[in-house]
Symmetry: C2
Subunit: 130 residues, 2 copies
DNA sequence: TACTGCTATGTGTATTATGCATATAGAAGT
DNA sequence: ACTTCTATATGCATAATACACATAGCAGTA
């Protein structure tokens, strides 16, 4: 088993399940956009891994199936046709609900860290862990 | 499709993947314990859903397979025999790595909420909210 | 004795999320 | 012709998770 600190960090990544959904919904709340555009937008966000195209496009289709976004084809402009998504009223409602739950999750994480720090009475570990 | 706010909240729960792992490791860092004991401890934690026994016991076995905990049978005392787990050195290392990644995740969630609030121009909810 | 309930540890299985590889294709530059 | 960038997808293997169910010791009590 591996003890390299870098790999240990990799092995216990802390992912929020389905987090790409509210991120997409928030981008679309700012303005309608097509998938490739959203991929670049999410890819530029601080400390987020670059999104997987497969997951992103699949998620958009799933959001549309659930009525949270709707899409139209944009054949104008240069390059291949783009499927442009926009937020629906229900999508906005979901975004707000996500925000509420994200706050609750942050509270749980804070609670964990408080317990953790109480146990080890340590300074905050840095990203390079040691 | 449903518009009941309560159900909307349910549908976009915000789960941290594998979060039961660091919670178990932290409990075991405090003191060795058996599964049932850990279930009660996690069940009492603030705002966390009561853990599923199947998931909990399976996770403990998986942690042992990976060398993060070790177990011994405790046949003393009343009731059925208990498998008592204790943290290994490597388990402690993983717990620290989890803490680092949890902080990174919190930073990402904060970044999302900042963007969200910027978009909708809302105040952060306070205790005396409204 | 039989029954009930609490303690304690598990398995079976279906669903969902995710990452990685791969496919398709228009358009623009060299 | 070729490469590169833009753009949208599918296929598949693995992993996480929830929910139901199985097993069994032990204690109290009717």
């Amino acid at each position: 088993m591996c003890h390299d600190p870098q790999e240990v960090l990799e092995n216990c990544r802390c992912h929020v399940r389905g987090f790409i959904q509210p991120r997409l919904l928030l981008q679309l709340a700012k303005k309608p956009a097509h998938g490739y555009e959203l991929m670049e937008a999410l890819g530029e966000e601080n400390d987020h891994p670059t999104p997987d195209p497969g997951t992103l496009y699949r998620t958009l289709r799933q959001l549309e199936e659930e009525g949270l976004v709707r899409s139209t084809w944009d054949t104008g402009g240069t390059g291949p046709a783009r499927r442009v998504y926009e937020l629906t009223d229900q999508g906005l409602e979901y975004l707000h609900a996500w925000a509420v739950n994200i706050r609750r999750t942050m509270a749980r994480l804070e609670h964990f860290l408080a317990q953790y720090e109480g146990q080890f009475d340590k300074e905050k570990p840095t990203i390079e862990a040691r």
